[in-house]
Amino acid sequence: MPLELIGSISDGLCPERIWHVAWHPSGDILASCGNDKQIQIWAKEQNKWVLAQSLEGHEQTVRRIAWSPNGKYLAAASFDVTTSIWENTSSDPQDIEFTHVSSLEGHNYEVKSVAWDSTGTLLATCSRDKSIWIWEMQEDNEFECLSINSGHSQDIKCVAWHPTLELLASGSYDDTIKFWKDIDGDWECLYTLSGHTSTVWDISFNSTGDRLVSCSDDRSLLFWKYFEGADKWKNVCKLVDHSSRPIFSIDWSHLNDKICTGSGDDSISILEQDKSASTADSEQYKVTIKHEKAHNSDVNCTRWNPKYPNIFASCGDDGTIKIWKVIE
């Protein structure tokens, strides 16, 4: 199975380093952010990706971005300690016309990641200040802070919501993954998963939310499965030395269960579960594609298109965004 490059964005339009890409739920719009402090919205015209809008306002690097499930809002986490919220105010939903509607302040240091829950009402942000903030969106585009969770002992790199439940997972420089849930008005840490020996850079739930995969600076991938009876998340598969360098990004496709990773060794990999070799307590995942030199430098982010199967986007320190197709 090879990987085919079907699109590429660079041409000096991008900053030197692109941190993150995020697909609009329609699958036809892509947003990116990087160290130029801006957010770029790309739209596909004929067979080319063109810049539809550039969102400016952050004073420092924009580290990650996230679309609300209905695609109307975009949230951006920045090193300037704020999270900005943008709304598509165009009357035609096909058009792109984003306006800044809110700025969430409160983190004391760089905001590292942001994520909307499946209903689009809750927003989670995490920061180097070791806290996770949960915000609720109100009717007038106003946000109320519901909770400030501390528990991680170090910088928190990523947050991800469960695909259906009000359950949040976070990955940190303290090498752990934690799960958070609202218990009688207070968000509490339910589980702490230890297994990685270095920074957890990215985490992703599968479509049903009973598995989570994590990638780390320790160059390994860990697969976690939820056991309902025991009410525990257990490690069911460990791929050590998945890469020769830290693995920065991982994404579990909700369309066909494929997993893509992006690494500091400039490569991109695709993995799939080997069902025949998996048991209830131990699962096998195998690399079906390893594409070396996918970028000229670190691959910072890989994300599956939410609408069209087998398509994903990647970005990296080389200042390019690439769109790939897995040929089956």
């Binding site: 420092q60 690097t61 090193f79 302040e105 409160g106 004391n108 760089e110 590292k112 180097r128 200040d129 070791k130 806290s131 106003e142 946000f143 109320e144 802070c145 519901l146 909770s147 400030i148 501390s150 170090q154 910088d155 790199k157 420089y173 008005g185 207070d186 360098r245 500091g264 000229n296 430098s297 670190d298």
Partner: protein
């Protein structure tokens, strides 16, 4: 024992926190690459050395710039020695050393600490006080005061300040935000600067008013210089230590702090253990002089106000209703609407179906966030933020649940019930509004020239200062 968890969580989340320096140090280390424009990478080995990997895969160990103490002090990335120095300056050790000197020792006990000790030993607040007197007498300490007494001043000044803000006789905006919690003040100064500071009541906290009274009023009564008195307070949190060490509460003229040392409730417990004190079986020393105590001799009970975080909301509400609209309000008339969590409540004064003012209680970091956010938005849009006074406290459940209080032995789940018990012990006292405190009245007449007067403004009010936050742009891969 480390003091880390004795601070309010608000301070733990700001950079007053003790981030362990080494591992998380974010000071961008300058590393000289050998190939200036090459696509070589730098990796950090397990031993911390930097290795340059060039395209062809050859590795070369690089010179590493070391981080000096100066770098640390100039960087707000992690807090270094400053706060730990401060904590050692206000430790049980320090206290024991000082009480053996020549100074007159005054100890001020907060009613929240008293309640926490009551709960721990299952003794009435009055017994706790009397046994504590015995204990301190044995250490040679003769004055054990009660910060409910100085809180009466704080309440009266706050209420009059509110009325002045409301009538616009002073140039300070509404909503007025309570100032008794140093965790909140510290956070506001560090994080919100000029936006928020004008809203914070200038009235000193009960601890600091007691400091002023002890060093400048009481000292004269006993013919001492302010610097001849060593004043110790027993408080529900470590944040109070930071408050006591503020420059605003230090006199250059007399070369003395208003409060010299703050001990937390749990440190007092440690002290008992250290001295092998069987507290329950200590004799009780009868109260001879109730001047700096809110004590009712006839009933042998303490007197205070409703609300274990100081009762600011209720008192100011009643006082303002009376002063501004000549309405007599009782505590029971104040009906609260509870917010999303029990640490947020609000109540409005209605006159003829019209809302006159709205007061809120916002305890804990998240509720503080929402208040700050509302104020910021209302300032930028020039609208009323919906509140006229907010009793802001950093700790969820307020001071009774302060970080320096005695914790239940049963862990977090148990702690809620334990805190409730402490609250009940706190309420084991007579309630009285501060205007009816005759001693306070006398001092207002003879020493302060009335409520919110020029004298009271000099003696019982303070200032806040914006703290510049150094931004350290991160260019490293995180």
């Amino acid at each position: 024992m480390s003091g880390e968890d004795k601070f309010s969580s608000i301070l733990k989340l700001t950079d007053l926190d003790y981030i362990n320096p080494s591992q998380i140090c974010i000071k961008p280390v300058e590393i000289e690459k050998t190939k200036p424009n090459g696509t070589s990478k730098i990796k950090i080995e397990n031993d911390g050395s930097y290795v340059e990997v060039s395209e062809d895969g050859t590795e070369k160990t690089l010179e590493k710039a070391t981080i000096t103490l100066n770098d640390c002090l100039a960087c707000s990335g992690c807090i270094t020695s400053a706060e730990s120095v401060l904590i050692t300056a206000q430790s049980v050790q320090e206290f024991l050393t000082n009480i053996n000197g020549t100074k007159t020792i005054v100890v001020t006990l907060s009613p929240q600490s008293r309640a926490s000790l009551s709960n721990h030993f299952k003794l009435s607040p009055i017994s706790v006080y009397k046994k504590l007197s015995t204990f301190f007498n044995q250490l040679g300490i003769n004055y054990l005061f009660d910060s409910s007494f100085s809180r009466d001043f704080s309440l009266l000044e706050s209420a009059n300040e509110f009325v002045a803000r409301y009538k616009k006789t002073i140039d300070l905006p509404l909503p007025m935000l309570a100032s008794a919690c140093p965790g909140w003040i510290c956070y506001a100064e560090k994080t919100h600067g000029d936006y928020i500071l004008p809203y914070i009541s200038t009235t000193k906290s009960p601890q600091q008013i007691m400091g002023t009274l002890v060093k400048y009023y009481f000292s004269e009564k006993i013919n001492k210089k302010p610097s001849d008195i060593y004043h110790v307070t027993i408080m529900p949190c470590y944040d109070k230590k930071l408050e006591a060490s503020r420059n605003d509460f230090y006199s250059d003229i007399f070369n003395t702090k208003d409060v010299d040392c703050v001990l937390s409730t749990s440190e007092i417990l440690d002290l008992f253990k250290d001295k092998e004190i069987d507290f329950n079986n200590l004799a009780e020393t009868e109260i001879r002089d109730e001047t700096f105590l809110n004590y009712d001799r006839a009933n042998d009970k303490f007197i205070g106000v409703q609300g274990s975080s100081g009762g600011y909301l209720e008192f100011i509400y009643k006082y303002a209703a009376k002063e501004l609209f000549n309405l007599d309000i009782q505590n029971k008339d104040i009906e609260y609407k509870v917010g999303r969590n029990s640490d947020f409540k609000e109540t409005s004064l209605m006159v003829n179906g019209e809302k006159i003012f709205t007061f809120a209680l916002a305890y804990g970091f998240r509720n503080i966030q929402n208040i700050v956010r509302k104020i910021k938005i209302s300032t930028s849009t020039n609208k009323h933020c919906g509140y006229d006074f907010v009793e802001v406290m950093a700790c969820p459940s307020g001071c009774i649940n302060g970080g320096g209080q005695i914790k239940s032995e049963g862990g977090i789940k148990d702690n809620k019930a334990f805190t409730q018990d402490s609250e009940n012990y706190y309420n084991d006292q007579l309630m009285r509004d501060p205007q009816n405190n005759l001693v306070v009245k006398e001092i207002y007449n003879s020493w302060l020239n009335g409520y919110f007067s020029q004298d009271s403004n000099t003696k019982l009010h303070t200032e806040y200062h914006r703290i510049e936050k150094s931004t350290n742009a991160l260019n490293i891969k995180w």
